[in-house]
Symmetry: C2
């Protein structure tokens, strides 16, 4: 198997190294051979090559079986007048690989109840998956820019969706729901946005094809409240790119830490796997980041892109066991716990 | 004082009646005379007059000292192909009155700890105000619409901000922060959106004029997580229209119920006051909605538009006392509590 490893910036490379370590352990234990090809992406690529995504790295990713991505960005490259940014590399890569449906499961580990801000009863029965549209919407559409006008600078971004873009990501949600508890929540802001009206109408139309799935429409503002108040009531959520970005970071509240959450787009070739967290510049280089998001993303890669189900389950179980044994990285440690470092956590898993 | 009372749809009229009741009690106790002028807005206005906002109601609002608004919308008017919607009336009114800064304080009542999904320690010291930009951004800008193309229907919304629109709402935040704990969190998605880069640059520029205020930039996704994980770390938050919509509904988690949260735009004439909740069609007409959001909005009107500080404090205290005495509407009742109805709650306050 050929795996492109793109660690990126900040804690990206640190955590990705642990995802790789988990793969290598699987290779040894089960007798598989993973060919790892490393590439620069994001800020480090700007620094070294003048662009956040080189043609070479794009090719590397395209020809791989799967991509293990870290995170990109950081204050170093935050100058508002910079011609390009680390994030542009990630956005270009997602678009190039056509990763339109990013699947972000939210798993609650009962062991982490103490680290949670939520009362335990709220977390009972939580088992949801958020499907985030990842190659359209407010992130990509033109016009997008800042213009000097006689009245001062004006900034513009555009949210645009075609019916087919909406349909394909909703279908991913319907199919997922079918194999789970059979409930799909389609998120929009249809009382104000035209893209959302198209989104809602498309969801309603598709629902006829999935009579076994119960479709519910939710306004994004209401959903942002309910996802924490009544998280167990959700099964599969499908949302526009920006809405999905906000809701999945928020849903990390349920999991106690964003550091634990993986994501996948394994129905594509190459499959695209990234933890949902960012580069966490405040803790980068300190060896204290939680590597589980990357390790669990690697597990998803084993399962969805490489067909190694048993191996994936072994990695998931290993994470579970290490948490059961009481090991905690700083993000999930409670007062009194001695925190486990990034590489040690990876070694333990 | 001339007050325009626009109850709207769903629970809007029910809760607004209790806001009015509180004003009338203030009138009797302190010897003021409030002239109330009622108007239709939203769905009821579509049904009666064919438009969600008539010229007459717009005039009524414009010439009032302040507007007490309820909520608009509901499934009855949700047809995606309808030429106009209840929400259009609210959006038109906000724009017409130039209510660009909607101030939404998030108050935590210690009495409601039992009703909260959050552990008590998280709520300690929470005292934040969200300033939501209300007349620009993704809600309003053109182009906005759905078009039939050879490739199917395409939907478009536009997020546009001029520097001056951003500046005036940020200034509201800076001024507020100055009179509070001196911290301003400016929310954006500057790693992806051009409007956000303009937003961030504008906030940074203005910070020089407010050396007594500490400015922090937060990405909207990260903020959606932190606002629940570390709510006490926020003082004043300023956000774009859509982001502010999402974050304030989410922040209702902190207050135990959205039904308790008021909002104001009292620096304008007329002042504009509305609870942050919606029409709650599922409970409309049952007499069980929480009227406190409207009552506290009325208190804000007394304070900010009518200059009746003592009177406003009396209403705030009355709500506080009724909660201390253990009265609970259904939204904040815990198992075992007998829930208090809308009008009874209003009578008690
Ligand atoms: C780094 C950034 C562009 C990215 C996004 O907004 O998509 C991140 O927040 C994420 O959620 O993966
Ligand atoms: C009814 C709707 C248009 C409105 C909004 O999105 O502004 C509501 O959600 C609010 O927060 O006041």
């Amino acid at each position: 198997f050929n795996i492109a490893v793109l660690g990126g910036d900040g804690i990206g490379p640190e955590v990705t190294a642990e995802g790789v370590k988990a793969m290598q352990a699987v290779g040894r234990a089960f007798g598989h051979n993973f060919t790892l090809e490393y590439g620069d992406v994001g800020g480090i690529s700007i620094d070294r090559h003048g662009t956040p995504l080189t043609d070479g790295v794009r090719e590397l990713a395209t020809s791989a079986d799967a991509v293990l991505f870290g995170a990109v960005g950081g204050p170093k490259w935050d100058d508002p007048s910079a011609p390009t940014r680390p994030e542009d590399g990630l956005l270009a890569l997602r678009a190039h690989l056509n990763v339109f449906a990013n699947i972000r499961p939210v798993k609650v580990y009962p062991e982490l109840t103490d680290s949670s801000v939520l009362k335990p009863h709220v977390l009972e029965g939580v088992d949801m998956v958020v499907v985030r549209e990842l190659t359209g919407g407010l992130y990509y559409a033109q016009p997008k820019g800042r213009t000097q006008t006689p009245q001062g600078i004006v900034g513009v971004d555009t949210m645009r969706y075609s019916e087919s873009e909406i349909e394909r990501v909703l279908r991913v949600g319907f199919e997922l729901a079918r194999g789970r508890r059979g409930k799909l929540t389609s998120v929009d802001k249809a009382n104000v946005l035209e893209t959302s009206r198209l989104w809602r109408a498309t969801a309603t139309r598709l629902a006829d094809e999935y009579p076994d799935v119960e479709l519910e429409h939710a306004l994004v503002d209401a959903c942002a409240m309910q996802i924490v108040l009544r998280p167990a009531s959700y099964d599969v959520i499908v949302a526009e790119n920006t809405f999905g970005d906000i809701l999945t970071d928020e849903a990390a509240i349920l999991a106690a830490s964003m550091g634990l959450l993986p994501s996948e787009a394994g129905a594509r070739t190459p499959g695209f796997y990234e933890p949902i967290h960012g580069t966490a510049p405040d803790i980068a280089g300190q060896g204290i980041a939680n590597p589980c998001g990357s390790i669990l993303s690697a597990a998803m890669m084993l399962r969805y892109s490489l067909g190694l189900t048993e191996e994936a389950a072994a990695v998931d179980r290993a994470v579970q066991t290490v948490l059961e044994q009481g090991y905690r990285t700083a993000d999930i440690a409670t007062a009194g716990d001695a925190a486990t470092g990034t590489t040690q956590m990876g070694d333990l898993v």
